[in-house]
């Protein structure tokens, strides 16, 4: 007779950045069932956006939904409200916005890779990636003034222009990072122990990716061509050299590689943007109060982010609905956990790049 043991992971655990609780029912460390509790971070931002803050402030509030993809939240909200207010931005603003979105994606992906390495007991790799990540943090700090939670985007444009020194710094750092990412790809593909730890572990099949509505790198690693950047025309992604990157097996190994290659693609986009920047205003003037509703989708580092806004002609919005990537992926994650070893669970969890503060808002 097999004895079932329950192993808790969370809400405080060394391998977790944020409070989330999984209860793994295991037989001989093989996971048979997973129970999840994701509501630890629920703060009530949706309500505050409609009752405490005016529509001009909400952009900065929704940035605090999640520190990792803060710019994506602000961006999605701003695009939504600009759609309602009928503001047309110029090319320079769009380019600067994509630049920051992609820098954010680079640092978020690097953090996820580092965290996956750490959770699989690979401390040397963690330190290496975290060291390399400082390059992109420097660019963000130079451009926006803060390392994380840079409130760069505002309604009608962006808050800061980019100076020539910043541009130079960005070029040098991105070129350096490009080389380091090549090096990382080599390390991730050739190491014996990472192959044991990552290959065929935590795999999501191509069909399951669609059935469970997988998003972002999780879906793309399984070979499913799901990317809002390719499905949306709000931001001119195609002009700046966006390319879809797909994996095959959907295991941790493929997820890591998809992330690394996306970083390379993002670096290319940033370089294209920086060399193609034109002179122009960074803020478009606008008048009036929002009235109407809008649906906005945007690709965050973890997948699709969705904003529904409903305004009724006053300073306060009537409804803000935030749908974040991790939120809809949790049933898929639970499915992946089943049948894998508990020893792999932290690494699998980190490779999803879960964001609980996004999920619970």
């Amino acid at each position: 007779m097999k004895k079932t043991i329950t192993i808790p992971l969370g809400s405080q655990h060394i391998s977790l950045l944020e409070p989330v609780r999984f209860n793994f029912s295991c037989e001989n460390e093989k996971i048979t069932d997973v129970d999840y509790n994701v509501g630890f971070v629920h703060r009530g931002i949706e309500k505050a956006c409609t009752e405490k803050f005016e529509y001009k402030q909400v952009g900065y509030v929704v940035a605090r939904v999640c520190g990792l993809c803060a710019i994506t939240h602000t961006m999605a909200y701003t695009l939504g409200i600009e759609h309602i207010l009928n503001i047309k931005t110029n090319k320079k603003i769009d380019y600067l916005r994509i630049l920051m979105l992609e820098l954010d994606r680079i640092h978020s992906h690097l953090l996820c890779l580092a965290h996956t390495a750490e959770n699989s007991g690979f401390e040397g790799m963690f330190m290496k990636i975290m060291g390399d990540r400082e390059l992109v943090m420097d660019i963000q700090e130079a451009i926006s003034g803060n390392r994380v939670q840079f409130d760069f985007v505002c309604i009608g444009g962006v808050n800061r222009d980019i100076s020539t020194e910043c541009e130079k710094l960005a070029f040098t750092n991105l070129a350096l990072l490009d080389k380091k990412v090549d090096d990382l790809i080599g390390k991730f593909t050739s190491n014996w122990s990472t192959a044991l730890k990552y290959k065929n572990i935590g795999a999501l099949s191509y069909d399951d990716a669609f059935n469970f509505n997988a998003l972002g790198p999780l879906a793309r690693a399984a070979g499913a061509a799901i990317d809002v950047r390719a499905e949306s025309s709000i931001l001119p992604y195609k002009e700046v050299g966006y390319k879809m990157i797909l994996g095959q097996n959907g295991d941790i190994y493929d997820r890591n590689l998809v992330r690394l290659k996306e970083i390379k693609n993002s670096i290319l986009m940033c370089q294209n943007i920086l060399s193609g920047l034109t002179e122009g205003e960074i803020l478009v003037k606008f008048k009036g109060k929002p009235n109407g509703e809008s649906f906005t989708r945007l690709e965050a580092p973890r997948g699709e982010i969705f904003y529904y806004l409903n305004a009724n002609g006053t300073n306060m919005l009537q409804r803000v609905r935030i749908k974040t990537p991790t939120f809809s992926q949790i049933p898929g994650m639970v499915e992946i956990f089943k049948g894998s070893d508990y020893a792999d669970a932290p690494a699998i969890l980190a490779s999803f790049d879960p964001c609980m503060s996004c999920t619970a808002k």
Binding site: G39, I226, S232, S233, E304, F306, R319, P331
Partner: protein, 112 residues
Amino acid sequence: MQEIKIENLIEEITSFYDPKLHHFVCLNANDLGENRLKLQWIFTFYNQEDNYQIFWTICSFDEVLPTITKIIPSAIMSEAEIVDLFGVQIKDIQGGLYLDETSPISPLRCSI
């Protein structure tokens, strides 16, 4: 946008939804006041630009709504969320995703 009746929600979505073609974004609820709740099931199409398919309906808070988790497993989160935040009843879906005993009850509902 397509208005549907709450009774034939399941049939409508079953006949529409193909996992390989359509992406279920979320179930959105919006309290319009006076015991009226607007529900929107938002879908998009893969590989098509900005193409939404939205099913919507207006119901009251007393109705027991059907669940679409049999068709779309990932909808369970959206449904549990509106159960918690609006205090509506959905068949087979329990609350407690976000809120505890110490939290306010159905906070996103209009206080009328």
